[in-house]
């Protein structure tokens, strides 16, 4: 692994990410939007690889590109009565455009303004591998890990409870 991030790879992946997000919001078909979200998640996995976070890239592909995309597509299909309902009216929402432009502008300004304090371009060379990541996760962060699995269990049971058929 090199000690810098290649500008070409970063540009290509960030174009894929932002372009996918723009297309997700621009398309009027909900099913197409779900597939654009899938593309954004895959490009994000590539960005994690650039940052030498291999485990996170794997988890991103498995969880987001795999299960979340399938979950979204199933929900879209279950809540559409006709095929034509997938195509929605154009919803520009000019008020939210103004709010988001202000928010994003101030965010970018803050990054440019206060980012000068960070050393640009250089990257620490030593990168722990996946084995070191697992060791840290299961020793130093073992209790939060167990709590996280409890959160997932409760969320699973709650989702089954809410969406369950003839229960209530």
């Amino acid at each position: 692994m090199t000690d810098t991030v290649s500008g070409v790879a970063f540009l290509a992946l960030s174009f894929a990410t932002i372009g996918g997000a723009v297309m997700m919001l621009a398309t009027r078909n909900v099913v197409h939007a779900a597939f654009w979200l899938l593309e954004v998640m895959l490009a994000t996995a590539g960005i994690y690889l650039l940052l030498s976070a291999e485990f996170l890239a794997l988890v991103q592909v498995l969880v987001y590109a795999g299960s979340v995309a399938v979950l979204l597509l199933f929900t879209i299909m279950l809540t559409l009565r006709r095929r034509e309902d997938a195509v929605r009216d154009f919803e520009p929402g000019w008020g939210s455009v103004v709010i988001v432009a202000l928010f994003g502008g101030s965010l970018l300004f803050a990054i440019q303004r206060f980012g000068a304090q960070m050393r640009p371009g250089t990257m620490p060379e030593t990168v722990p591998d996946v084995a070191a990541f697992g060791e840290t996760l299961f020793t130093q962060w073992a209790v939060p890990f167990e709590i996280a699995s409890l959160v997932l269990l409760v969320a699973l049971v709650g989702a089954v409870w809410w969406s369950g058929g003839d229960g209530s």
């Binding site: 030498s52 969880v63 939210s96 620490p124």
Partner: protein, 107 residues
């Protein structure tokens, strides 16, 4: 600064800021509940990029950012599962997924 130079943490933060803004726009402007949930996922994704990038550029040996990103992924996966279950439950009662149809508690 040419385009082909190695990029630093600022570029990743800018990317995450743009992604977050796009997700915020979607969450504010869409009228379909599923689209709102997808935009929320976009925002969570931007935050994860920020966590991983800052961890990589400042202190990669501790991996705190990566661990936080894992927990953040757990929470957002639970959130999307519960959100979609809620959408299905509401659809069963109302036969619609429009946000505008769910305003009974509006003051």
């Amino acid at each position: 600064m040419t385009l082909l130079q190695p990029v630093g943490a600022l570029s990743f933060m800018t990317l995450a800021a743009v992604l977050f803004s796009l997700g915020l726009y979607g969450a504010l402007s869409r009228k379909s509940t599923v689209m709102v949930l997808m935009s929320l996922e976009l925002m969570a994704n931007a935050i994860n990029i920020n966590l991983v990038a800052l961890s990589r550029f400042s202190a990669p040996a501790e991996m705190t950012g990566q661990i936080f990103a894992v927990f953040s992924m757990v929470v957002s996966a639970a959130e999307i599962g519960l959100g979609l279950a809620l959408v299905l439950a509401l659809y069963r009662q109302r036969k619609t997924v429009e946000v505008d149809a769910m305003q009974e508690l509006k003051g």
